[in-house]
Symmetry: C2
Subunit: 197 residues, 2 copies
């Protein structure tokens, strides 16, 4: 307690440093944010930050991996599921929406990454792996006759995740994430049109 008071502010753990860093990266861009900016926002010294991470780059790596790990956990979940590909695909879409809403600033950062550094290129490579898994699942569902065959599966999967990823532009936590997952799944799988009965 005395130890804490002497440092002037309560100490941050790595997770809190990371959360503040991600918000700042999203506000100013990764390139536009310095460790000085981050220290100022946190109200601690730079050396206090270096107690947790070795570099700005490491903060970026931890942040984008938090987003990617969430998405790959979903992949792990659905790969274990029995049943037709379309059910796994719908589960993947719904769970991805949930990951996006739960880890919104982290996924926002991930989706804006360029390919300037090794960390960024590694993140983009993992994103491509994820996209490939989605495209393969769509392909499988087309082969099983449950997804429309008249659109290139690569385009279908781009459009699916175009919808999902658009959440970073407009989702605000007050909307329930379950409702949003439901809305995305309905539009994606059945479309917005009411068929005349």
């Amino acid at each position: 307690m005395a130890e804490r008071a002497r440092r002037g502010r309560p100490g941050y753990d790595l997770q809190s440093v990371l959360q503040v860093a991600v918000v700042l990266f999203n506000e100013r861009g990764y390139d536009g944010t310095s460790m000085d900016d981050l220290a100022r926002r946190l109200g601690i010294s730079k050396s206090a930050i270096y107690h947790h991470v070795s570099s700005k780059d490491e903060l970026l790596r931890l942040a984008v991996n938090h987003a990617l790990d969430g998405l790959f956990d979903v992949v792990g979940e659905i790969e274990a599921l029995p049943g037709p590909a379309i059910d796994r695909l719908e589960r993947l879409v719904r769970r991805s929406v949930e990951v996006l809403t739960e880890r919104l600033p982290f996924v926002t950062l991930l989706l804006r990454v360029h390919d300037n550094t090794k960390v960024e290129r590694a993140a983009l490579a993992r994103r491509r792996d994820f996209d490939r898994i989605v495209a393969d699942l769509v392909k499988q569902a087309v082969a099983e006759g449950s997804v429309r065959p008249d659109i290139d599966p690569a385009i279908t999967s781009r459009l699916l995740f175009g919808m999902v990823n658009s959440l970073i532009e407009w989702y605000r936590p007050r909307a329930g994430s379950a409702d949003v997952a439901d809305a995305v799944a309905k539009v994606a799988f059945s479309g917005i049109r009411v068929e005349p009965s």
Copy 2:
């Protein structure tokens, strides 16, 4: 001809300066691009650029308005159409995809605009006007019983344009834009699922 040779390079007109500027803004970010960078890329002097525009800000204004004008032309087109709201909505979605593919770098720039400057804030205001028109059209189609009423019309329109706007991430001109407009319309209005017959 002698005049041209003396300047070392053929002169650019405003449209070509703008096109190169937009590519550069998309590569490095608007804030990260200087008029010196642009002059270097064009291989002309800064004063030759100032012959066409008064500032970097004016380039941005012209560029984002080129994107916005395309979208508002579509609004003008569909407002003149008779018939049910859902038909106008489908036309709006298809024609917006065409505008995106035809003016891809301009729309890309528009969709990445922040709100740091007056020009950027004006662009965001026009984007919001466009979004409101889409949301109103969805609302009208719901009232006419042709768009599903179980999703908030604001969310439906966000998802529609989430799909449309995702094109800036993955569309490459070799894919025919008519095919892409068709794919977006099919997924958006009817969904990806093949209903068991």
